[in-house]
Amino acid sequence: MKILGISAHYHDSAAALVIDGVPICAVQEERLSRRKSDAAFPLSAIEWCLEHAGVEPDALDAVVFYERPMLKFDRILTCALRAFPRSWRSFPKAMKNSLGEKVWVRGIISSHLGVPASKILFTEHHQSHAAAAFLTAPTRRAAILTTDGVGEWATLSIGHGERRPNGATSIRLLREIRFPHSLGMLYSTFTAYLGFKVNEDEYKVMGLAGYGRPTMVDKVRKLIRRTPDGAFSLDLDYFEFHSTAARSYSSRFIDLFGPPRNAYEPINLETEEGRRFADCAASVQRVLEDTLVDIARALQKETGLPDLCLGGGVALNGVANSRVLAESGFERLFVPPAPGDAGCAVGAALYADRIHFGNVDRDVPDHPFWGPSVDGIELARIAAEDGQRVDELEERKVIDQTADDLAAGRIVGWMEGALELGPRALGHRSILTAPHAAEMRDRLNREIKYREQFRPFAPVVPIEDADRYFELPSGGARLARFMSGVFPVRPEWRGRLQAVTHVDGTARVQALERDMAPRLYALLHAYGERSGIPVLLNTSLNLAGEPIVNRAVEGYSTFLRSGIDVLIADRTRVTKRGSLLAKRKEEAECSRSVAEFNVA
């Protein structure tokens, strides 16, 4: 049975193809269109998935969209009505936005793919999250918790899933918290207040929180109150996201927390204003964690299950995940590599396969590498055209040479195999460097990532060595598989892991198993032989504001425009020869007089 899953129209659109119960491929539209967080209907992603699997659209048994569009429209319209007459400005925009494309999903899919409308199915948004979390996790029975900004109406759902010995699968959502009461929206409101982009920069708030003290927790608790049944509700007087599209926080919010940050001003943590913003971030982070832990703890008591599958955009908050693991009573916590909306494409397809069609359960490969593969030959060709130094190396030589580069303090762009699904670079499209000196972190921020100084970098370590350098609790290694948890760096190693140790002594560590990425695993060991520490700094191969690279040519352009010293794609190694871009510009300037003549 061939099932195509699609997520689209809000953020991170993606497509995934499941054949006979197993995902074959999946990719986010942004990786192909090169527009970060591309929310457009993922036509390129769909085309790539079908082409990769050699499947014609008419051979598909079903196409599953990750949410129910009319139910979502119902929520948007109801919110506009409830906010009458304050919603008069946002109403035309909301209607044009929804009625223009978003509610006609069945027709859009049908017209793009030529499949009959009867083959087009719709899961609920949180069902998709739940399926992405549970059906990809190596567990037979688990509690499920999904939480994000909002789906149709639900913002947080709890339930449980089971794979029975006869191959039948069930996912049952028990309860939900409904819009506008939303942990995701609370966090996003602070994201906007702190001058960052909503739905994109929430991780910056988490990074900033490390620099602050949770001195405003009482104020944040005025915004979110616990209800007697263990859920929560937002005090809507502090918010405007439910009634207007212009701003997510109200004037009362500003009265409580002070003026918002100007997005174009850097955060200076030396100033009182900068520290206030950091304290704000720390406070909302603490309240988010406390609330999630309470809900997870109650869910553990209710279900008595040892495993929890966590999905939805909030599950990208590694600090909160670690506290849930440590304090909720669950022994294992499973967070998929793409817990946000992109992963819903996989979730929707798997949900249809197991639940709707009742197909027998199959194990899903436990890795994030579902996208297009990189071509080292393509890199060799374009780099040679530019006169760069290109080496084609044998496999062992690639590892040894790269380990030497890293030991010599060089910054390496590392591309191999299939692209990751989800926001984390987990070893196939990474920038790797030595993790020891703080200067390396500063150099990366300054010359490569062009980003705020307060944002930390993550380490990658072989799973067998993880516990030596990081304080992983029971179940921590699993959470660290896809970089989903934040754990303390052991104090005795912080001095030698400065570039990956956050200001609060923690790191968002990736614990790597050999089977998941054998070449990177070998590289870690080779580097360990040279430096004594088999740990590398691993950050995504992209520049600020751009999606993670996909093809070799995109890696190459990132290499040229940044301070990356060496670029590897499979067995091709490219090293930089001088500042090529500056040289080309000078050459081109020489032709100006001819061109001026032509312009005249």
Partner: protein
């Protein structure tokens, strides 16, 4: 020195009036910043899709320049904001009166050939350079902003020139034809933008009228129903878990 075209020169008094307003100046600089950075991304895409190695390198230089321009515009806007200690936006931005930079927003980069891309880029750069020259001239009262435009205009000259020389190189016989096509295409896109904007205004007006005429009764019932809403957990019924996936609601 890049001379401004006649139309832009005629509009100079209007530009001066608009740029005099500090809030509009900030908003326009921020908008230019966004546009330049977006344009840089599109050029990056162009560099990644072209099979011509020289063009790839030039597009990368161009993309880097555009990114730098975006940073310059944003930095200057931030300085002005800091000086005015105000982050509020003026209600009337007058953007339609004074179009801004030269983002490639309505260009499908992946579908353009090298020659059509170069022709489009050349005209965009020429047009932006002409407009930026006028902006630079009318900003005599704000020397730092004027210097930003000066700096950018230096790069614009290079962009204008290399796009034309490369167009002549890749299409020696038909470069004029490509330029005319690009001119017509820009005209058509300008018409489409105008028509879309007009349709948006009309649509918005009709929806606003409907909002006040049709919705009040429904709003009354919606608000009444809202009072009965309970906060906290809402059970998910077993039927909902078993709902058919054929339904969109």
């Amino acid at each position: 020195m890049i001379p401004a075209n006649g139309f832009d020169r005629i509009l100079a008094p209007l530009h001066r009036w608009i740029w005099r307003d500090p809030q509009r100046r900030v908003q326009k600089l921020l908008r230019f910043g966004e546009t330049e950075i977006d344009g840089g991304r599109d050029l990056l895409r162009a560099a990644e899709v072209t099979s011509n190695s020289l063009l790839r390198r030039l597009y990368l230089v161009h993309a880097t320049d555009e990114h730098r321009h975006g940073v310059l515009f944003r930095r200057r806007a931030a300085e002005l904001l800091r000086a005015s200690a105000s982050s509020s936006a003026s209600a009337f931005q007058a953007d339609w009166l004074t179009p801004g930079g030269h983002g490639l927003d309505d260009l499908e980069v992946g579908e353009e050939s090298d020659d059509s891309m170069l022709a489009f880029l050349h005209l965009s750069e020429k047009s932006a350079a002409s407009r930026f020259t006028v902006y630079r001239d009318v900003l005599q009262f704000d020397r730092p902003t004027q210097e930003v435009f000066d700096d950018i205009l230096h790069d614009e000259m290079f962009h204008m020139n290399y796009t034309l020389t490369q167009l002549i190189r890749v299409s020696p016989e038909r470069h004029r034809l490509h330029l005319w096509r690009a001119r017509l295409s820009r005209l058509w896109k300008a018409y489409l933008r105008l028509a879309t904007a007009l349709a948006g205004v009309i649509g918005g007006l009709l929806l606003t009228i409907q909002y006040f005429v049709v919705l009040p009764l429904f709003a009354f019932f919606a608000k009444r129903a809202q009072r009965q809403d309970q906060t906290g957990w809402t059970p998910v019924s077993p039927e909902r878990n078993n709902n058919s996936l054929s339904r969109q609601y």
